[in-house]
Assembly symmetry: C2
């Protein structure tokens, strides 16, 4: 079994990105800027946000965290988003999810300037993804595609089975794999016989949010398995795939942690860099 080592690939790409950013800063005199909006103090979110900040600092992206109390009003969040939309030092902006129930995440995300949507969650960017147009891609699916590519895995002609249909992972990774030539199947809560489908996968992507949902009996021998899940069980992080069991049948497998997670952060940094370069070009015209 070949470990799909997201931490290693992400580290290498982050180093390359650091060089590119240093070169751009030398020419243009301004660092890329990433603004992170976080509402409330969910410990998992805080941990993600810290990870994103740390990785940004490492590659030379100036990041700023705007942590708002969970009692914040919609108007206050909108005022902040609009301020950041106008701020020429902010190239990328993300609203860390989830946010409190009294706020409408899609509405707020669509108020982020499309040109600053580092997560690729803006309705227009999702429309472009749907249309197979160049756009800012959602970070996790983009990171998975990069990881596969780093191991010379070409999805063309493969049967790719995706477990989970979220707008953040399942649906867009299905789209990207289809665009790369895979035949795609999307399974979800209403799927009658999950194992029937997963056992047909040459490439299996699991993003169900259920600890160790996929065991060895659900995986075709020799399959490539990508585990997007992050679940806390007995104070330990485990994926949606039973790693110890599935490593005996899969040809390639991502660990959790240190698989898809670091690739997601790398994709977010690359998105921010790409938006920064577009802003530099746009401001010269």
């Amino acid at each position: 079994m070949i470990l799909l080592d997201g931490r290693k690939v992400a580290s290498e790409r982050n180093l390359q990105l650091k060089d590119k950013i240093a070169q751009a800063v030398a020419v243009h005199g301004r660092e890329p800027g990433l603004a992170i909006i976080m509402i409330g103090d969910n410990p998992a979110s805080l941990s993600y946000v810290k990870g994103k900040g740390k990785a940004s600092a490492l590659v030379g992206i100036k990041h700023e965290l705007h942590q708002l109390p969970d009692t914040v009003t919609e108007d206050e969040v909108i005022a902040l988003i609009e301020k950041l939309n106008q701020d020429p030092t902010v190239d990328g902006m993300i609203l860390q999810l989830p946010i409190p129930d009294h706020l409408d995440d899609a509405k707020l995300i669509d108020l982020i300037a499309r040109e600053k949507d580092a997560d690729g969650f803006h309705v227009v960017n999702q429309g472009y993804l749907y249309q197979k147009k160049p756009t800012t891609k959602p970070a996790t699916p983009k990171g998975i595609m990069t990881l596969l590519s780093a191991y010379d895995i070409n999805p063309k002609g493969m049967n790719a089975v995706i477990v989970g249909r979220s707008n953040i992972v399942g649906f867009p990774i299905a789209r990207l794999l289809m665009d790369a030539g895979a035949t795609i199947t999307i399974c979800h809560r209403q799927t009658k016989d999950m194992a029937y489908h997963t056992k047909q996968a040459d490439l299996l992507v699991v993003s169900a949010g259920r600890a160790r949902l996929v065991g060895a009996d659900m995986v075709k021998p020799g399959a490539i398995v990508v585990d997007v899940g992050v679940n806390r069980v007995d104070d330990k992080l485990v994926g949606d795939v039973d790693f110890e069991a599935v490593k005996e049948v899969a040809s390639h497998l991502t660990p959790v942690p240190k698989g898809v997670g670091p690739m997601t952060i790398n994709a977010l940094l690359e998105n921010t860099y790409e938006l920064y370069m577009e802003h530099l070009v746009a401001n010269k015209v």
Copy 2:
């Protein structure tokens, strides 16, 4: 085999729509308006456009055809779209595809006011479809969902296999079937063994644009088969499914013509009516 009689279902729904429109006109004093832009004189397009015009007249939608020469410039098309965007008597607008190669269809469609996008092809409407938000749905997928529903076919838990991945049919019908609870598989040109997948379908939707691509050996006995194809063979219209062969194995099957075609037109008329009602409400606020 039960014939999924699109002509019959569409006729019934068009009659209901005619009543609803008559009632709305009695109250609001204005008919719904549909503007159709056609570029060039492709005979198939002209036939579709005529069909849409005839059906509009039947239900009480005022339609206007803007036929432009295939030498028209982009600026001229844009000027027309902008004029129609401003025209308060136009509730729905469609750009009949295909258009000549020197014009960019996606660019032009995105210039149609989102509130008048009767085909559901605008990038923001496609983004909302992606996000499972209320939006104007593309006519063919919407028509298929209506046809299934008219025969009390509930896709929940079914294995739905879609052949074809276009933004107009294959991809959006997959999305709608997934939202309705089906496990979806999308096959396409790069799929290695098409029959392997189609034979697993409880519900098979074929939109490949290849005459009689799907024969009886590719269909599971008892499957529901929806044929979106319209191909001219020996001066006769045939679908992507070999009707005579597949009717022996399928439980339900659409004919070609008179299957999905009339449902697509009905969906376009319903979209136009819905946009009209939204405009009436918006203008009162």
